[in-house]
């Protein structure tokens, strides 16, 4: 019978060939710009994509390569390309297949950076986006245009926390022969492997739970290897001959990894949003404990949901694991272990009370990140989503009193004690 390594084993070992010279058990940090070729023929064949190998660290690096193969293994993808940040991953992932005159259908409930990219930046390159309510699957279908080349969403919307119906949207994409790309940062492959539900490409900000320690910025694009790029003439960047590499046809030569190879051959070479080897090492250290950390994140989140739901100073709590959440059924389907460790809640007394809460907690850090091992809080309307307009804020499910909590790994009793301090300050404002 068949046997494959399981998630925890792959988290520790996938992608790494133990160093043959010194036997280093940890993945070495190959802090080098370039690589000595054994002979001219080998050099030429690496440059001509006749063989694998490293030439220059802007394009590939052995430490980064281990991280890429480890994430591809965990996601079940055919290949992965790491980038300097999650936003770099999103930009590279989109521009690998879209250009002037092309169109995206995207969820309206996404990280503010994603919305800004599609609303403000990509139009300058002739790429337009129609945003749709992620809870309305038919809305994705209705928004398709003749020039639509991509459907994009987040499984767990940030920060509204609505769950995208992956299978529903994937069916629409398959029927219309359009790839379905999902930002899987909030779920990680430990909570949901999106390719199992028909998604074709995933991206992550690995800065968040994948790395998990708030120590390194990074992104990754994972090629599901399950999209037939050759079934239409919509994707010439994959299926046409690519002049800069002696006219290589990536679809013919690399098949299920053709999309990742396009990112490697074009974006990493011509744009260069490269992840550093040091960051790759730090992120690998984080991934080694991904399942352990996620289990603890989920356990703490469960306790915090009970605590916040029963607190007199909390006006509302939102999390897909709560039965009242409108995405609860989808969360149970796609995220049976738990729907992540982001919680949104409102503090009684509105914006000023929320401000008092944030300014009076000490253990919880007030900063613009999520998925750290430490508990984090922020006010999205004035920070992460401050650059999007009022209508988009409403579409993104962001209210003026919303506080976004990223539940950390501390002893949960200490998080609660810290919050009590914040709530006491908020109460004074609310009662004044």
């Amino acid at each position: 019978m068949s046997h494959f390594y399981h998630f925890d084993t792959l988290s520790l070992h996938a992608g790494q060939t133990v160093d043959s010279e010194f036997g280093a058990r940890a993945t070495p940090i190959y802090q080098t710009t370039s690589y000595v070729f054994p002979d001219t023929d080998t050099a030429a064949s690496i440059f001509n994509l006749e063989r694998g190998g490293h030439a220059y660290s802007r394009i590939t690096n052995p430490t980064v390569g281990v991280l890429e193969q480890r994430i591809a293994a965990l996601e079940g993808g055919s290949a992965a390309v790491c980038t300097a940040s999650g936003m770099a991953a999103t930009f590279c992932a989109i521009t690998a297949i879209l250009g002037q005159g092309d169109h995206i259908v995207a969820s309206s409930q996404m990280y503010g950076g994603n919305i800004s990219l599609m609303k403000n930046t990509l139009p300058r390159f002739g790429i337009t986006t129609t945003f749709v309510d992620p809870t309305d699957v038919e809305g994705f279908h209705a928004a398709l245009q003749d020039n639509t080349r991509l459907v994009y969403g987040e499984l767990i919307g940030n920060p509204g926390l609505d769950i995208l119906d992956l299978e529903g949207v994937a069916a629409i994409c398959a029927e219309n022969h359009i790839p379905f790309m999902v930002d899987a940062t909030f779920n990680t492959p430990y909570l949901c492997r999106c390719f199992d539900y028909g998604v074709n490409i995933t991206i992550h900000s690995v800065t968040k739970w994948m790395g998990g320690h708030g120590a390194a910025i990074g992104g990754v694009v994972i090629d599901g290897g399950n999209f037939d790029w050759g079934a239409s003439d919509k994707y010439p960047t994959i299926t046409d001959d690519y002049a800069p590499f002696s006219g290589i046809n990536l679809w013919e030569e690399f098949g299920p990894s053709a999309y990742a190879m396009r990112i490697r051959a074009e974006a990493m070479r011509d744009i260069g949003p490269t992840m550093s080897p040091m960051n790759a090492f730090l992120l690998l250290q984080g991934i080694e404990t991904l399942s352990l950390r996620m289990d603890k994140h989920l356990a703490n989140t469960k306790v915090m949901l009970e605590y916040l739901s029963g607190h007199e100073q909390v006006s509302w709590v939102s999390h897909p694991d709560l039965s009242a959440h409108r995405s609860h059924a989808l969360a149970k389907k796609y995220l049976p272990k738990g729907a992540g460790s982001i919680v949104s809640f409102g503090v009684k007394g509105g914006r000023d009370a929320g401000k008092a809460f944030i300014e009076n907690v000490e253990l919880a850090s007030h900063l613009a990140n999520v998925g750290d091992s430490k508990t984090l809080i922020i006010h999205p309307a004035t920070t992460t989503h401050s650059r999007i307009d009022a209508d988009a804020l409403v579409a993104a499910g962001i209210s003026d009193d919303m506080i976004r909590l990223s539940v950390g790994l501390e002893d949960v009793a200490d998080i609660q004690a810290d919050f009590e301090t914040g709530f006491r300050a908020a109460k004074k404002i609310a009662n004044s």
Binding site: F4, G77, G255, R264
Partner: protein, 269 residues
């Protein structure tokens, strides 16, 4: 490129260079349920070194039209039709697994244009576990899991791969998904039914190379020894760190062996 054989469109990649039947040719044959992409780390190398390269998808597989052929003998005849259609001379045939059975039949039946044969990871016959055939027909996911679990050695199971960032295990599984259930099941049944290897192997003349994976569980040493014993004076190489998928798992070693052998026996000027 696409061309027509027996009224059906055949797809073959040519390694990034236009096909030119005036040059010495290297033809690569894939195994069960796979396609041309299996040879990506070899085809381009020869195409850029004065050879013309042809890596066809077998009928019904991936981009080639028609139904999968039901016997190894029919596949050998089809390959001859390809060679005749494209008027190819001076052929070095490179085959993997099921492709080796096709190569055995082809080399015995149509030796005229053949300059060398390289067999990779095969025996004289490939008896197939009945559970695998049953899964190929009724539970493709399980069949692909069985084949890739048995097919890859330790590096493959750790999702390593010769191309940075690429998982050869996942990539191999995705290729097979293109060819289930019909093509994979038909391929496996054709392999299981093939019994003519012992008869044809001794008839094959000319330079012969056998490349084997030291961790191969699909074609273990006992099985491959039979092939080696029945061939006339083959050069034999064992790639110790590879499973069944030698061209993917140890592409540099495999390519170097093929290069030395083909350059010597079918030189391109």
């Amino acid at each position: 490129m696409y061309f027509e054989v027996n009224g059906k469109k055949v797809f073959a990649t040519t390694g990034g260079k236009e096909f030119d039947n005036k040059k010495p040719a290297v033809i690569f044959l894939h195994g069960s349920g796979l396609d041309h992409t299996f040879w990506g780390l070899h085809s381009r190398f020869f195409a850029f070194r004065k050879y013309t390269v042809l890596v066809p998808d077998l009928p019904g597989h991936s981009h080639s039209e028609g139904a999968a052929l039901t016997s190894i003998e029919a596949m050998a005849d089809w390959l001859n039709d390809v060679v005749t259609t494209l008027d190819i001379e001076n052929i070095s045939l490179v085959a993997h697994s099921q492709g080796c059975l096709i190569a055995l039949e082809f080399a015995a039946r149509y030796p005229q244009q053949l300059r060398s044969v390289s067999f990779i990871a095969s025996g004289l016959a490939t008896p197939v576990n009945p559970a695998l055939i049953d899964n190929a027909e009724n539970n493709p996911q399980a069949a692909i899991a069985m084949m890739t679990s048995w097919g890859f050695g330790s590096a493959g199971h750790l999702h390593q791969g010769p191309i940075p960032g690429n998982s050869m295990l996942s990539g191999g599984q995705k290729i097979m998904w293109r060819n289930v259930p019909d093509e994979l099941a038909t391929d496996l049944k054709a392999c299981d039914a093939y019994e003519n290897g012992k008869v044809v192997a001794p008839k094959i003349g000319g330079p012969i190379q056998v490349i084997l994976g030291g961790q191969d569980r699909m074609a273990p040493r006992k099985v491959t020894k039979e092939l080696v014993d029945h061939l006339s004076n083959p050069e034999v190489h064992i790639v110790t760190q590879s499973g069944h998928m030698v061209p993917l798992e140890a592409p540099d070693t495999c390519r170097d062996l093929l290069k030395t052998f083909i350059f010597a026996n079918n030189p391109a000027t």
